[in-house]
Amino acid sequence: MAEDDRKDATRDAVGREIESAMNGQVSGLPPEQAEALREKIRLRVREEIERDLRARTASDRKDAAHLAKEARKKEKHGEEGETFIRFNRNFRFQHMVMFSSVILLIITGMPLKFPNFILSRFVINFWGGIQYSTIVHRIGAAMLIYFMIHHFLYTILTRDGRRDFWLLLPKLEDAKDIVHNIRHFLGKLPDKPRFGRFSYIEKFDYWAVYWGCIIMIGSGLFLWFETDVLRFLPKYALDVAHEMHSDEAMLATLAIVIWHFYNVHFNPDRFPGTLLWWHGRMSEHEMKEEHPLELEEIVARRAKESAEVSNG
């Protein structure tokens, strides 16, 4: 209603302005001609104004809808407060390369370990037969090797990488946290352990990947370049590499499917998963829940920084 009134008022004001401007133009012409010209100009200007108004209201509506959505979001997650960047873009990219390669490796590798499993033949035929699925496996392997090198350089060369590496090293606190957490599960302690940037669960995930990558890439390269390897090592060494590759694959798959998937996807807090791997953001609420010590550190650092700034 209010919008319509405002629209009408604007239109009237513009109409009056046009009338007065036109009166100057048409003076001196015969009355019929003057009236016809006036009518023509009036129509043309109206058209122009209407179009402008239409465009403006459409964009207004869009803005209003966006604001309303934001407000609703704020209302719903009121307690979440600030958003923190948990994983930077580089780290997220590494994770994506890794999980794509691991998925490729598992689906092209497991049918070789379980040729009698009912889906195995389907999966191999999906790639066009074993001649091609083994090529896909090597593409996955190349991606994983790339990831390993990328992560190694990231750990050495970037500040975030170095910091995370130190924070990921297992400490005595982790053992205490495990005991604490189990007692909490059993109802002996009311509160969860207070984790820093990385809980023992995440540290386990990280080092499992480290261990897995070293074994899988090492033994996998043996199998990939078997003829070259056999120039220097006897065949039974290759057999051992083959066995390690096969068994470690099983271990890695189970670790991912049970441990990682539960803690990240199927955990009732997270179900059916989180987009953290995509946007890297974590809400203040989640930080308080899962990484309270890190949150405290951030708050303390900020207070110190702002104090320094105000002092300086």
């Binding site: 003829t227 065949k235 189970l254």
Partner: protein
């Protein structure tokens, strides 16, 4: 040698059609006065009607076309009564002798009427040379000639013969296709393996298809292969009278023989592990001849076995390493799987294969004695994986238990999952 009904027909014809007797030995023209009539027929005592017509044209173009009727029907007069049976053995003595010893001949001698006499396969007045493409015994026509009886269910059951599927399989086999589809006369037809006049069942030692005679029989057309086979461990075993030692048909099949590239062949890349392990996976055989065990399972666990199972024909199967007709035990210095020869054998597929290929077993048997390294790794991982999985499950089980408990305390919709 004629079927009795024919004999009876002629006898009856002699009774009914009385032509004035002129000479003791009638010429062909005189015979044809009666037998040239297409409508000339007679009814047997059991009610069936038999034609007495003899196609003069067919007879003239037959191998015996130059002779007169009385060459075979020596007792024929005009008019005549029941004639004696024609004896082909008068001229074809060798054939008659070997026929008499055959399964067909023995039954025929007993007066059984549904086994073929000479005419059953060769025809009567229209007999042609086997080289003549119109002959029933021409190589490309033989299958049809034999199948006239051997496709008959009643005959199969009566004489306990193999099912007609066995015969049908021949037509799809490499030999059947070569003769039927490609029209090659060099391909094996029934008589090449089973013999012609002297045909006998395979369980008799005199039979061409008896186990002991099979390599020699196949070697008639495949002499190069026979030479290789004779030197192989299987050939030596067969000659030494070892019953389990395979002959050609044990691996290739009989009526079902197919090209190795045909996926249905028992010696195709995909099927050969199963074919070989038909004997080599048998406890009794590997124990009796002190052969290494678990050859099949250890092969199927290897990448070669898995790749073959998934249809990669390029991957090594049994014969890629052990050879085909020339298989020798690994202890033989000439064997392709002798340790000294392994680098060369592996090098067929793995260029630049060196002596390290021979250091370690190809068929890896995971046991502390045979492959300690692999065994240790497998043991370690079995324990490690089981322990870790148990810990994972314990941890997440406890977590869910804790959540469930707190949920119960706080009530549904309470602060579940939060401390």
């Amino acid at each position: 040698m004629m079927r009795p009904f024919l004999a009876a027909a002629l006898a009856a014809a002699a009774l009914f059609f009385t032509v004035p007797a002129v000479a003791a030995t009638p010429g062909v023209g005189e015979c044809m006065e009666c037998h040239g009539d297409k409508t000339n027929e007679m009814t047997l005592p059991n009610g069936t009607t038999v034609s007495l017509f003899v196609d003069m044209q067919a007879y003239r173009s037959s191998v015996h076309g130059g002779s007169s009727c009385t060459t075979c029907h020596a007792d024929a007069k005009a008019p005549h009564e029941k004639l004696k049976k024609v004896s082909c053995g008068k001229c074809h003595g060798d054939a008659e002798k070997s026929y008499a010893g055959s399964s067909h001949g023995k039954l025929h001698a007993k007066g059984i009427t549904d086994v073929p006499g000479c005419d059953g396969c060769h025809g009567r007045h229209d007999i042609r040379k086997p080289k003549d493409p119109a002959a029933r015994t021409f190589r490309l026509n033989i299958v049809a000639t034999c199948l006239r009886c051997h496709k008959d269910r009643a005959i199969e059951q009566k004489y306990n013969l193999p099912d007609q599927k066995v015969m049908a399989a021949y037509e799809q086999s490499v030999h059947g296709m070569a003769s039927k589809k490609s029209g090659l006369t060099g391909s094996a037809v029934c008589v090449d393996c089973h013999g012609n006049h002297s045909i006998l069942p395979g369980d008799l030692p005199r039979s061409a298809t008896h186990r002991q005679n099979i390599p020699k029989m196949c070697g008639k057309c495949h002499p190069g292969i026979l030479e290789q086979y004779d030197k192989s461990v299987h050939g030596k075993g067969m000659r030494g009278g070892i019953a389990e030692s395979p002959v050609c048909t044990d691996c290739h099949g009989e009526h079902t023989i197919a090209k190795i590239h045909d996926p249905s062949s028992s010696v195709s890349s995909r099927n050969i592990p199963k074919t070989c392990s038909g004997c080599h996976d048998k406890e009794a055989i590997s124990t009796r001849y002190a052969l290494p065990k678990k050859r099949f399972s250890s092969y199927m666990d290897s990448f070669h076995g898995i790749a073959v199972e998934y249809g990669m024909t390029k991957a090594a199967n049994c014969s890629s390493c052990h050879g085909v007709h020339d298989i020798l035990p690994a202890a033989d210095p000439a064997s392709s799987v002798n340790k000294a020869n392994l680098p060369k054998t592996c090098g067929k597929c793995h260029p630049n294969a060196g002596p390290n290929f021979a250091k370690g077993d190809v068929h890896v048997e995971v046991s502390p004695k045979k492959a300690m390294g692999v065994f240790a790794v497998r043991l370690f991982y079995t324990i490690f994986i089981s322990a870790l999985v148990m810990l994972f499950v314990l941890h997440l089980g406890l977590e869910l238990y804790g959540r469930w408990n707190r949920r119960k305390e706080n009530g549904p919709g309470g602060k579940e999952g939060q401390s």
